[in-house]
Symmetry: C2
Amino acid sequence: MRSEPIQILALAGLPEVIARDDVGSLILRAVKENAFVMAAGDVFVIAQKIISKAEGRTVSLDSIEPSQKAAKWAADYKKDPRLIELVLREAKRIVRMERGVIVAETSHGFICANAGVDASNVAEGTALLLPEDPDRSARALHDQLTAALGVSLGVIVSDTFGRPWREGLVNVALGVAGISPLLDYRGQRDTSGKLLSATVIAIADEIASAAELVMGKTSRTPVAIVRGLPTSDDSGSGRDLMRAPQIDIFR
Amino acid sequence: MRSEPIQILALAGLPEVIARDDVGSLILRAVKENAFVMAAGDVFVIAQKIISKAEGRTVSLDSIEPSQKAAKWAADYKKDPRLIELVLREAKRIVRMERGVIVAETSHGFICANAGVDASNVAEGTALLLPEDPDRSARALHDQLTAALGVSLGVIVSDTFGRPWREGLVNVALGVAGISPLLDYRGQRDTSGKLLSATVIAIADEIASAAELVMGKTSRTPVAIVRGLPTSDDSGSGRDLMRAPQIDIFR
């Protein structure tokens, strides 16, 4: 039996997104221009960057007065003190701050470099914060796209995060709507009939990583479509991918 | 401009792998049975489990004498003391050992749950260790498959790992041959012309995660093919994905 392959399609032709853009409408126009016929279960993976830009999360660095702590760190590691100040303000908790690297927990509960503050692919003298609530952004886009395209779709708002112990960034899911972010094999039996005890796959993160393969970093393809995934139900959200502090042995 | 999508194909029809099987030949037979025509740049993602089985990395738990430490831990958390002993023997260094969870560094340098010792999808009373050298396994399969199929292919030996701070496992690359595991954007400019300072994508991990979407955990599809990736060169190996201890702020 040969199953249909999963496909990862780049959504070409999106314009540069600016504040107050309606990202859903831009995506719908690009879908039309690409002559894509959407199928139920297709998942849109959307880079956090264009959501943040549309939601007005751009900060002018001129408006930021660096604290002494930010100024000292910036001087030590040749960084922009205003950017460091912004990182410290976005950080609910510093996880590591050493050798020029700041890893922090954001107000959402994400643990990532620079508390998610991004200074690449943005206008000079500005920085970009994460969306206020990536699940809410994903849900709104899910509702808009599903209504306009007439099929039930998934939406993932993604960003590239580093990982402890491993080199390189991978794309992960921050906000999720329309699909279940975790695929739970517990209670199922393996091929030898044994109960699978601890196997929960972070499928939304894997979908985000798959999508990144066509999104690239410099090629201005902030949206990809992943097609042909196993059926999922619309349950859960990006929050389900954050390990609860009380069971996290790495806090 | 509409680019060709990336495809993720399940390689159906592989038999259950046992010790001393020639995994390369089994894959070649399945490729033929699926009537797949391989293209240059196609990447085979192969679950560590079948490599380990073929390489005879199955351990009979009856042969293991638990230490006092293993026995106590096993009693505290209702685990098999022989399995815990095996985990402790495979661990070059314990990273966390609390609340029933052991995260350890293996001799290869991987940091993962149970030092990579696997007791699911194996025969009762046995456990499976990671391949001795996943890069060597990947390279041997790369050479065999490339020679037999007449096109230059990539090979990734993968396993599902947990991550600090996030729920669920994702598939990552342990061994890599035929492609470059990291995609380095440093020195390139972003869309606003600014130099990208710290963007290196762990593309082999993203490919492994993409492949997992068709591999499943219980469905006996230990090999997937990812097709249509950006061109890569045969440089580097899975070791490049391990952060060197001296620059790792999470050790």
